[in-house]
Every structure is written in C-alpha cells, then in structure tokens.
Amino acid sequence: MTTVAKPLPQISAEMAPWFDAARRHELVAQRCAGCGTWRFPARDLCSRCLSRDFAWERVSGRGTVFSFAVMHQVYHPAFAAEVPYPVVVVELDEGARMLSNLVDCPVDQLRIGMPVEVVFDDVTPDVTLPKFRPRR
C-alpha cells in the first residue's frame, strides 16, 4: 500500500507571518492598529474599523474550545488512518478564534468550553502547525 503524504498548508502572503512564527514555536495573531481588535485568519484590513494598519502580535496560546467537528468521512486519503479526528475552533484568551486540531484528547471527551493550550507540530523542517491540547 502506498502512503499518501498529508497536504501541506497552502500559505498565502497574508498568512506567511503566522507560519513563520509557528516555525519558531510562537503563536501570533493579527491585531488591528486602528481599534485593537484581534483577528484570524489573516486579512489585509479590519472589518470593524476598516484600518489597513495591523501588527502580528504574540498571544498566550491559551484558550477554550469554541466549537468542534469530528471528521469521519475520508476527504483526503492521507487522513484515512486518522478518522475520526477532531477539527476545533479555539477561542484564545485574547479573543481571536483559530481553526486547528486537538491532540492528546479522545474525541468522545471533547467539550465546548474545555481549556486548551497550544502545541507545535513540526510536520516538515519548513512547516510547523500550531495545534492544541487539553490544559491540565
């Protein structure tokens, strides 16, 4: 049986700083310089105040599970061995929400509101994926 590699992220110019930080094992989010609103994923302007000025700022990496979906259908062959696996939306303490995976947690123990923290998954020498695990 041939193994299929998991797809790597298609990294747009807007998202590149997020992945650059992840490679350094730092979690960042965009913050609007106009009104201070945190946002994710990357956008070139703030939908609240329409300012184009922003900075990527480091965040705590701590938050709670805002929602989750358990993927059972194999949409991509590389995930065949992993189903069922959780896709989560984490609401960071700073307010931004990040789509990610939850690791170190059986899917039947997943709950909205559970406290989580970031971990870094170095999937290749060049690409690191921030993921989350339950906070103890």
């Binding site: 992220p9 298609q10 059972h72 991509h76």
Partner: protein
C-alpha cells in the same frame, strides 16, 4: 393599509424539472437548456416569448462569469432585454425570482426564465478505478487542508455544534427532521429517496460524515436542471397552468460569524416579506425551507417564528412537520431526500403544492406558501411568500 405596489404583480407561470440525480448524459448547460424548455412547455410558451434570462450556475459551470450569455447562446435565444448570472449560493433561486418580478414591474422584461443546473456526479468508474464526487468540489484547499478541515459539511458542523451547546438541540432533533422529510419523499415519485423509508433508528445507525452530521443530515448531491418562468400576473392568468403569484419577497444577509448569531437571514427578511404579502405566519399552509442540512431547517423554523429561538429542536421533536403534522414542511422531501437543486428545490415544491399537483403528498389547504433560500453557512437568505390568489 394599501397593498405593496408589486404584491401579486407577477407570477410563476412555468415549471421545468429535468430528470434528477444520477443522470450522466448531459453537462450543466445541457441540463439548463432542458429545464428552460420544460418550463416553457409547461407554461405553453415558446422560446421567442422569453425576453429575460437569470442564471444561477452550479459548481460545475466553472468560472463562467457570463453564464446567462452562455446559456442564451446554447439555446439560441435572441433579443433578450434582461440577462444576469447570479450567485448568493442557495439564496439565489428566490433572489432571481425577486429580480424578475422587479424587472417585469419596471417594464424591462415581460417573461423571465430563472434557471439553476449542475452536474457534479460522475458515472461510476470502471472496475478497479477509484472515483469520488468530492473531487468536483475541490474540498482540499488553503492552509486549512493541513488540519484535515475539508468541505462545507465541516463548516456547518461547527455551527450546529454551537447551537446544540447553547440551546440543547440534540442528535434526535436533527434525526427527526430527516425522518419527517423522508416520509414526505416517500410520497414524491420524483424524489431520489422515494423508495427508501427511514426510521430514527436507521438515522442513528447511518454513518457519520462530520459529527454531529450523519449521512442523512446532509442534502443529496444531484445532477439536473430546474427552471421557472416568471411573467406578469395578467399574462399568467391567460396561460394554461394556474398562476402562482409572488405576494411578498425580501432578502436578509446577516454577515459576521454564524457561530455567534446562530441565525439565518430570515430574522431580517421575514418581516418585510410578510408585510408586503399582507399575510401572517398563521396564513401559511405550505412551508418550503432551504435544507442543506437538517440543522438548517431547525434554525430557519426558529427564525421565521414558528417556534421561539432555540426551540427548533423540541418543535420538530413534536413530529409536527411530517405528513399529517400540523405544519407541512418540505413536502417533497426537500433537498435531504428529493433532489438538490440549491434553492430551486423548495421553490419548485411550493409551485407543485400551490397548483394542487402534489398527488399523494398534496397538502389539503394550499393557498399560501413560504419559501426560503439560504447560502454559504447561514450567510445569505431570501424569502418568497407565494399564493394562489392575488386578490
């Protein structure tokens, strides 16, 4: 209070539904051509009578920004005075009809075809070759693909999970929507699931797609085309089929994150649509709601006010929405169980019911129908109030 100037000014005078489902002998434009032909035949009109064409291209139209022109050329239409390609996702169908009504009232056109078609299903592959209809949808993309986050099912699942956590909506509630609509589909010879009954037990045993969605929480995938002909009320009265008048219409697009609002744009659209129609919710005999998922039906029932916000689950659990229930909802089986023509499925079933052509599934009192369209992830919404009587 005087009636809205456009209330009942135009009507759906023709309905064309091609074969639906695993039909592989036509592409998307071919289905669109056939749907328009069928709708013209139904109305007793000829191609030459059409002077407006509004098209909602399905996924397999590709990047056809000028879809309505492509369709005009494909079916040899001449001298159109209105043409547009529109995309609000599943809200497009009702929106096309709204624009047709406005154009007719403004004198821009007299007879407008509104069309949807798609052909995402591929024939079964030769033995040994693997294929998937998912390929047509380009599920894997962006940075999210690295997380195994694919497709609209997952996007909706995240919102449904919030609704369940916030309001106590249960898996049984979702399942009972699927069961009620399947019972309707079992009475609809055109439905892809006509011959397949479904119990709540079987629902729970059906495979998971993306939890909390089982297979039967998700709409079908269909090849096919569907068109309606919209014309002035006066002209419609002189055509063969009974006119289905557009009494009220509106749109509502909330924006923002549907996980926060947990609501459809019906919260914006219902009031102006019903005000224009001059009717209330209590006057509605037939309810045809956009149902990409069972969850969408629950939310939409709440947002039109058939029950309180958050009570959609318990409401459907009373088993009121199936045949013989007190509220006839998605009477052809909807997109969960009949066929998936984006918002054209609920539009077409409303026309069937108001004409009294529902056969075994005909709702006894069928004077007023509510139709909703929903696109994106509760992102766009359109409302039609249709009636048999424009007086």
């Amino acid at each position: 209070m005087p009636h809205h100037a456009l209330r009942g000014s135009a009507a759906i005078a023709g309905l064309g539904i091609t074969p639906q489902g695993k039909v592989y002998d036509r592409n998307a434009i071919g289905f669109a051509v056939d749907a328009v032909k069928l709708a013209l035949d139904d109305a007793g009109l000829a191609r030459e009578d059409l002077d407006g064409l509004l098209v909602n291209p399905g996924l397999t139209w590709g990047d056809m920004g000028m879809g309505s022109f492509q369709l005009q050329q494909a079916m040899g239409l001449r001298n159109l005075r209105l043409s547009a390609t529109m995309n609000l996702g599943g809200a497009t169908a009702c929106a096309m009809i709204q624009h047709a009504v406005q154009a007719i009232a403004a004198g821009l056109a007299t007879t407008v075809a509104c069309v949807f078609s798609d052909a995402p299903l591929k024939p079964p592959a030769p033995r040994g070759e693997k294929t998937s209809s998912a390929g047509a949808y380009g599920f894997a993309r962006g940075w999210e693909q690295a997380y195994g986050y694919f497709g609209v099912n997952a996007m909706y699942a995240l919102v449904a999970r919030r609704h369940m956590a916030r309001y106590g909506t249960t898996q049984d509630h979702l399942g009972l929507v699927a069961v009620a609509q399947r019972r309707w589909a079992n009475r609809n010879p055109r439905a892809q699931m006509h011959d397949a009954p479904l119990t709540l037990d079987e629902y729970h045993r059906s495979r998971w797609i993306v939890e909390p969605f089982h297979l039967f929480d998700c709409c079908l995938v269909s090849n096919g085309g569907l068109a309606v002909i919209v014309t002035s009320a006066e002209r419609a009265r002189n055509l063969r089929p009974p006119p289905v008048y557009v009494l009220g219409m509106a749109q509502g697009h909330l924006g923002g994150d549907p996980s926060d609002t947990l609501a459809s744009g019906a919260v914006l659209a219902k009031e102006p649509a019903f005000r224009m129609a001059g009717v209330t919710l209590a006057d509605v005999d037939v309810v045809e709601l956009y149902d990409c998922y069972t969850f969408t039906v629950i939310v939409t029932l709440e947002d039109y006010g058939f029950c309180a916000k958050g009570e959609g689950g318990p409401f459907v659990a009373e088993q009121v929405t199936g045949p013989d229930g007190k509220l006839a909802v998605n009477t052809g089986g909807g997109q969960l169980a009949s066929f998936y023509m984006w918002g054209m499925t609920p539009v077409s079933e409303a026309v069937v019911q108001l004409r009294g052509d529902g056969g075994e599934r005909q709702v006894p009192k069928h004077d007023v129908a509510l139709v909703s369209g929903n696109g994106g992830v509760l992102s766009t919404h359109s409302t039609l109030v249709l009636g048999r009587d424009a007086a």
